[in-house]
């Protein structure tokens, strides 16, 4: 292809070419980072909780009125009544909800004598029904036995030990790289409570505690029947009966006692949507901005190239008169665009990395994997070719006869 004339013509249209290259560069820089953010947010909002069939599990937010009574007895009565419902498979109770607003954080370690050896975990004080209700996959050891369940009035009992505890694989690995933790004694702080690790489940996500999601897969089950004022009944409905179970459970609770408020009854699937609404929204807005960006860049290329074509109509006509085919004119403009977009891409990769470094500093962002720069480059190069097509076809359509007419 005739690069010589293209380069010399570009030299004469330095500014226009520079502007297009600059647009391509900025577009690529934004696009690659935005794609990365979108991918991250999307992956995050789909992250598994370790809970099987999220749409069959729902949480009832319960608050007792009149805290002086024996809340443990009231909770046990509720649990028994809920379990008796025909639509319900199993029920447990916890003060924390995965993918919910409330959660509890505690440090766990196998070496309490070592400073700062703790691993932050999301603590779920639950009874022996939790593993079954949540549908957690037990990969080692066992579940709690009913007789192991203690009663907790908001951690104020100061048990020196909880006896047993079930951790996730992630926590097991964090405690000991071999992951072999069964039978070992874990110490929780604050409080220096000890417990023997009796089981390991595959996965259990945390709620949002302390504004930190570091414990995303670091759930820990403690054998504590929650007798605090606020708690969640965790209910697994029988297959296909979740709607009916939600209504029945609410009615059943009010039938048992009206000395309570039920702030919400929500399936885990809905809780997930709400919990990640922001992440999905960010991904969506980011995609929208990218789409607009690509559109604007495309129109910029179309506008400027059309102008060049109209400026060079006579030259094109002369070339055609001298024997250039329509195809060669088309290829001329396509090659020209490829050169400009190529130069822009080189700059854009640099800008993209710079933008990523800036984002690393100002917001919690990870280092940009090169694949996003590669994908971005391919996208802008294709965008350039598509955008240049219409003006280039118009150029190819310039009749050779125009050379004969006066300017």
């Amino acid at each position: 292809m005739e690069l010589g004339p293209i380069l010399s013509s570009l030299r004469r249209n330095k500014v226009g070419a520079t502007l297009i290259a600059l647009q391509i560069a900025l577009t690529l820089a934004v696009l690659s980072n935005a794609l990365f953010i979108v991918a991250q947010q999307t992956a995050m909002s789909r992250a598994p909780t370790g809970i099987a069939d999220e749409s069959s599990v729902f949480f009832i937010s319960n608050q007792w009125i009149g805290g002086d009574e024996d809340l443990a007895a009231r909770a046990q009565a509720d649990l028994a009544n809920l379990r008796a419902l025909p639509q319900v498979a199993d029920v447990s109770l916890s003060p924390a909800q995965p993918l919910g607003g409330r959660g509890m954080g505690m440090d766990i370690t196998l070496h309490p004598e070592k400073r700062r050896s703790g691993v932050l975990t999301a603590l779920y004080p639950v009874d022996d029904h939790a593993v079954n209700t949540l549908g957690l996959r037990l990969i080692a050891g066992r579940n709690f036995r009913p007789e192991e369940i203690l009663i907790s009035h908001g951690f104020s009992e100061n048990y020196p030990t909880w006896g047993s505890v079930v951790v996730t694989r992630e926590v097991a690995r964090a405690l000991d790289p071999s992951g072999n933790v069964l039978g070992r004694t874990a110490t929780f702080s604050p409080g220096k409570v000890t417990a023997t690790i009796v089981g390991v489940v595959d996965q259990l996500a945390s709620g949002r505690f302390g504004g930190d999601s570091a414990g995303a897969e670091r759930g820990v089950l403690a054998p504590l029947l929650w007798a605090g004022v606020n708690g969640y009944y965790v209910v697994r409905a029988k297959p296909g009966q979740v709607e009916a179970a939600m209504t029945a459970a609410r009615n059943e609770l009010y039938k048992t006692s009206r000395q309570r408020t039920i702030a919400s009854v929500q399936t885990l699937a809905d809780a997930r949507l709400e919990f990640y609404r922001g992440a999905r929204g960010e991904a969506l807005l980011m995609s929208l901005i990218c789409a607009i960006l690509l559109g604007v860049t495309a129109f910029g290329i179309i506008g400027l190239t059309s102008y060049w074509v109209s400026q060079r109509r006579r030259h094109i006509g002369i070339r055609r008169a001298l024997g250039a085919t329509a195809g060669s004119i088309l290829r001329y403009f396509q090659t020209e665009n490829l050169l400009i977009a190529g130069a822009g891409s080189v700059l854009g990769v640099g800008l993209g990395i710079a933008a990523n470094l800036w984002l690393l500093r100002s917001v919690a962002m990870e280092r940009l994997p090169p694949v996003y720069l590669i994908v971005g480059t391919i996208v802008v190069l294709i965008l350039g070719q598509i955008s240049v097509l219409w003006p280039a076809l118009r150029a190819a359509g310039v009749p050779p006869a125009i050379a004969a007419r006066s300017a």
Partner: protein
């Protein structure tokens, strides 16, 4: 001459309608996207209490010591909340003009009509100083005073919204309300009050969170109402509610009002002395480490502007930049197509300044029209933001009159800047070029 140039600009823009539409679209889209996010960003980073933000302070004291593993967002390793012990210590000291301890809690209200189920409301246990300190407006009645604080009185203040719900908006002052199964007397009803960000309690629901009911801190402690927000402990906790109160657990937010620089200085001294005393008595094993932050400093310390808003704002301004570069190219094409007329005008006596003015007016017209398009797109953008952003942030998507002016000003400035180079090129057109062209 402005009218003349304006007229010329309109003709010129009509002449090449495709380039004109592309230019206006580029500016409009750039403004629309950037103003959408700027509106959200401004709302997120706004001053919620401008008349007093420099006089309200959060005192901080290091409860966990230098070895604690505080989240990295608190770079100075200070704990954001106070323990009950220190909150009481600060309250007793009376070292500030006004002071309020506070924590959020979830309370159950039992309606008088037994047919209705009890309802759960977000409540705030705080000191009576809370209301005058934050300029909280009252519709009926008023706040409780230190007398009620000291007397652990069973009084509540309702928001207008809750009063509307429970009493149909009528004056409910003096009426009884069953809260957590116990009777309380309504002492006041607030008027509309929605500081955003909710500076006095940032964290979850920083922007949309609203307390529905307020009650004395002392009463809430007596009733063992637990916090519904963060509760962090270091070291062992004692048994029961009393044990918790006297453990090293941070969960109480404290605000003070300090009117003058001297007050601020003396409160700083007080904080320092207080921490030193704790070290002397052996409660803290570290030298005094304290801070006193006003509203603005507190909001920035807590990174109130969400990272998503930050990123989206940056990205949308990058889009504006692309749109401006785009507009430079299109304007260049447009202006260069009119060099013949420029040359004639120059020959007829137009100075370079006159050419500059003519083309800058044309750029300005593009900017203004683009800005108006941008305002429309901003409204559209805010609607879509409201639909998809986190619920807490959706209160930030309100479009104010001042935002229209900002959008137009940004559009105008951006387009005039974009027009500078093409105009400079037009100014370089020689008056003789038409003669030579023959």
């Amino acid at each position: 001459m402005f009218g003349y140039y304006f007229n010329l600009a309109l003709r010129s823009l009509r002449r090449n309608i495709i380039l004109t539409v592309l230019m206006i679209a580029a500016i409009g889209i750039g403004i629309g996207a950037s103003m959408t996010m700027l509106t959200v960003f401004r709302a997120a980073s706004g001053d919620p209490i401008p008349q007093k933000s420099a006089q309200l302070f959060v005192p901080q004291i290091d409860n966990f010591g230098p070895q604690s593993g505080m989240p990295a967002q608190y770079a100075d390793l200070l704990t954001p909340d106070l323990t009950y012990i220190d909150a009481i210590g600060f309250l007793r000291s009376q070292a500030a003009t006004r002071q309020a301890a506070m924590y959020p809690t979830l309370l159950a209200i039992t309606p008088t009509d037994p047919a209705h189920s009890p309802m759960q409301v977000d409540a705030r246990a705080t000191s009576g100083d809370f209301f005058p300190m934050f300029d909280v407006p009252f519709k009926f009645g008023g706040p409780w005073t230190r007398t009620e604080d000291d007397g652990h009185a069973s009084v509540v203040v309702l928001t207008r919204k809750l009063n509307n719900l429970l009493f149909g908006g009528s004056n409910s002052v003096g009426q009884q309300l069953t809260v957590g199964g116990k009777p309380y007397r309504i002492i006041g009803v607030l008027d509309e009050w929605h500081p955003a960000p909710r500076f006095y309690d940032v964290g979850a629901q920083t922007f949309s969170g609203e307390d529905q009911l307020f009650l004395p801190f002392t009463r809430a402690i007596d009733e063992q109402m637990s916090t519904s927000s963060s509760f962090n402990c270091s070291g062992a906790t004692g048994p029961g509610w009393e044990g918790m109160l006297h453990s090293n657990c941070i969960w109480i937010r404290f605000w003070v009002e300090l009117s003058t620089a001297r007050d601020v200085a003396s409160y700083n001294t007080f904080l320092h002395n207080y921490a030193a005393e704790q070290q002397q008595t052996g409660r803290f094993h570290w030298p005094p480490h304290v801070a006193l932050r006003n509203v603005t400093q507190w909001l920035s310390y807590n990174h109130v502007v969400p990272a998503a808003v930050d990123t989206l704002t940056s990205v949308s301004f990058a889009l504006l930049l692309v749109c401006v570069v785009n507009a430079i190219g299109l304007m260049l094409a447009k202006f260069m197509a009119g060099t013949g007329a420029v040359s004639v005008r120059r020959a007829l006596g137009a100075t370079r300044e006159a050419v500059f003015a003519q083309f800058m007016v044309e750029a300005g017209v593009v900017g203004l029209v683009g800005g108006l398009v941008g305002v429309g797109l901003t409204k559209l953008g805010l609607v879509s933001c409201r639909a998809v952003l986190d619920e807490d942030l959706s209160v930030l998507t309100r479009f104010h009159g001042s935002d229209v002016l900002i959008a137009l000003a940004v559009a105008l400035v951006a387009t005039l800047l974009a027009g500078l180079y093409p105009t400079w090129r037009a100014m370089q057109v020689q008056p003789a070029s038409q003669l030579k062209a023959q």
